[in-house]
């Protein structure tokens, strides 16, 4: 139960969530709810692992993962943007589809070569910084560092660039955006696709870096859904998404480690002596997600903020109202 190790693992696991969450933030900011994260992450994880095992190139695997998940997300895009189907149900269908596809094509892949297939790095100077050094910059997978970069880049893009302005406009008031010459359909497709790419990246990060291998559905263990919840907690802000992801990762590791020692803070460790209490520990991450959601929802209520105004609603041009 070493706090440094817990936080270190937290950052690592959190990176997975961060990718998926930020991807979904992009999609939702554009007004499209994509609940298929779990399915897309599984497809990403499966294809990354599969390609890497056969070609030996982890980066290639990662790219294929992103494209596979992206392609799946485009299906969701077509159905919700062009066919104006209900975004919730389409997302669920996407989950089934992604899960099913990954199970079918991933048959026989299990654990073939469960070794870390992407390099890990230790940053020379920064890793000596007290406390933060060992946590953030020591022996972390290269993907973790990618995550560090993604957060500020995503924030900057959304809030400080012209493209970010367009993105937000499309999710807040697509009618206005359309009237101002923005191609609402094209922009929504783009950001749904980006969401898919990042979800695939998240999946690949699992199977190639953080928890290497392919373990069917257990590979993601519901992280796709947790990411959807984190989006709300993050109030659609990449920094908060990272914080939530890292915190969640740390919680996960804590849950694992807490069963180890005989004493906990000087007291008899119930989890050591009755291993079945471990099931309650298993519940923690999910209960945590609910808690995080409650916090996010109350905050939204209080500040009268909330989701992008047009989230979940299909945009139909030229609709005549009464």
């Amino acid at each position: 139960m070493d706090p440094i190790i817990i936080l270190q693992a937290g950052v690592a696991t959190g990176t997975i969530l961060l990718f998926a969450t930020i991807g979904e933030i992009f999609a939702e900011r554009a007004g499209v709810l994509n609940l298929g994260l779990e399915g897309m992450m599984l497809i990403g994880a499966m294809s990354a692992f599969s390609v890497t095992v056969s070609t030996g190139n982890g980066w290639l695997g990662l790219i294929v993962a992103m494209i596979a998940a992206g392609a799946l997300s485009l299906l969701h895009g077509v159905v919700t943007i062009h066919f104006q189907a209900d975004q919730v149900v389409s997302g669920l269908a996407l989950t089934f589809l992604g899960t099913g596809l990954s199970l079918v094509f991933g048959e026989g892949l299990s654990k073939a070569g469960a070794i870390a297939l992407l390099p890990t790095l230790t940053v020379p100077v920064l890793s000596s910084v007290p406390i933060l050094g060992p946590i953030l910059f020591t022996k972390q997978s290269v993907m973790v560092y990618v995550g560090y970069l993604l957060v500020p880049v995503a924030w900057f893009y959304i809030n400080r660039t012209r493209f970010g302005l367009h993105l937000r406009a499309v999710g807040e008031n697509p009618t206005a955006a359309d009237a101002m010459g923005l191609n609402v359909y094209r922009l929504r497709y783009t950001y749904v696709f980006i969401g898919g790419l990042l979800a695939g990246l998240a999946g690949g990060t699992i199977s190639l870096a953080i928890s290497p291998g392919w373990f069917s559905e257990l590979t993601t263990g519901g992280m796709g859904w947790i990411a959807v919840g984190l989006v709300i907690f993050a109030q659609w802000n990449p920094w908060r998404a990272a914080f939530g992801g890292y915190a969640f990762g740390a919680l996960r590791r804590t849950v694992l480690d807490i069963q180890g020692p005989q004493t906990l803070f000087g007291l008899r460790n119930p989890f050591f002596f009755n291993p079945y209490y471990g099931f309650f520990l298993q519940m923690l991450p999910y209960a945590f997600t609910i808690g995080v959601l409650i916090i996010g929802s109350r905050e939204a209520l209080r500040k009268r903020l909330g989701s992008p105004a047009a989230l979940g609603l299909p945009y139909i041009r030229g609709e005549r109202g009464h």
């Binding site: 159905v79 104006q84 919730v88 669920l92 099913g100 079918v104 709300i232 079945y276 409650i294």
Partner: protein, 375 residues
Amino acid sequence: MSSESAKSGSPGRLNLPFELQVEPRLNIPAWLGPLVSVVAIVLALLLGAFVLALVGGDPIRAYAHIAGAAFGSLGVFSDTLVKATPLILTGLACSVAFRMKLWNIGAEGQFFMGALGASIVVLAGIVPENAPRVATITAMLVAGVIFGAAWGFVPGWLKARLRVNEIITTLMLNYIAIALVNYFIFGVWSEGGFQMTRTFQKAAWLPRLSDLAEQFPILRGLTTHFGLVFAAIAAVIVWYILYRSLWGYEIRLIGDNARAAEYAGINITRNTVLVMMFSGALAGLGGMSEIAGVVHRLQGSISPGYGFTGIIIAWLAKLNPLVVVPVSVLFGGLILAGREIQPAGVPRLIQGIILFMLIASEVSLRYRLRFVRRR
């Protein structure tokens, strides 16, 4: 002069005397809905066959096998019905909730909680072992319904009071429910370290058709159990509530336009909680029926995803409780036969494709193609 004239000369454009336009439909003919659903399923099955072929399977043999293994004989059909029973209940659970645009993805967890509740009644001795069957079964049923309803109450209340997204809460509660059930199985009632409890006493077993085999030899070996009756009755009750009762009117109104319902003086908060509880109760009943009618013990593997398949069934049935029944039989067959198909993910994949095709095809209910003559 046509406004299209500027484009008619451009390269790559067929100069037909008419063009295709997409416009919103003004009314939906009654036959279109079912037709679209059927076409969607057929397309989905074709797509599934294609994927199967890609992975090296033999689609025709696989489908033929499914048909035979699900509906080929009385015995096999009886097994299909056994699989259909929990599906009907989860399908109903999802239909009820979806009617009010409450996305209950937690039917799986509510199913497990219902099983847990029913098990507690038996395994914790709340009902004595020598109690008559009717009393035991009734107690289990009540417990299953209450536990399921409670598991629906939580996300319902969170949504009603704090506007917390029910999709995620119900989903999270799935995982929590399964962990909870596992705790009870392993940590409290485990028999020899296996992932199951002891077998229930006979008084806790739902009667099956094969019980009557002495009088009617044809019923020998048929595993269809009384849970099917519960399911059928539930379907009728749900139908009555939704289409004939005042409450059902309120539910449909809220689902169509919550602001209008509010304006009409309907209490949305209360109905959110009640409907989620009702939905959870139905799924919980499914859980009780499964352990009392099929496995006769509490074990970890009582559901191959009934709660999730219920979502697809509800959507395919267009949220109509009576249609849920035949659709559940269809999916029951699919699940039953699918157990033997390699690879293991195929039934799930086909379910996903079906749902996708379904929602993609719904566009044809809202829009139609028109041939417009060009001047």
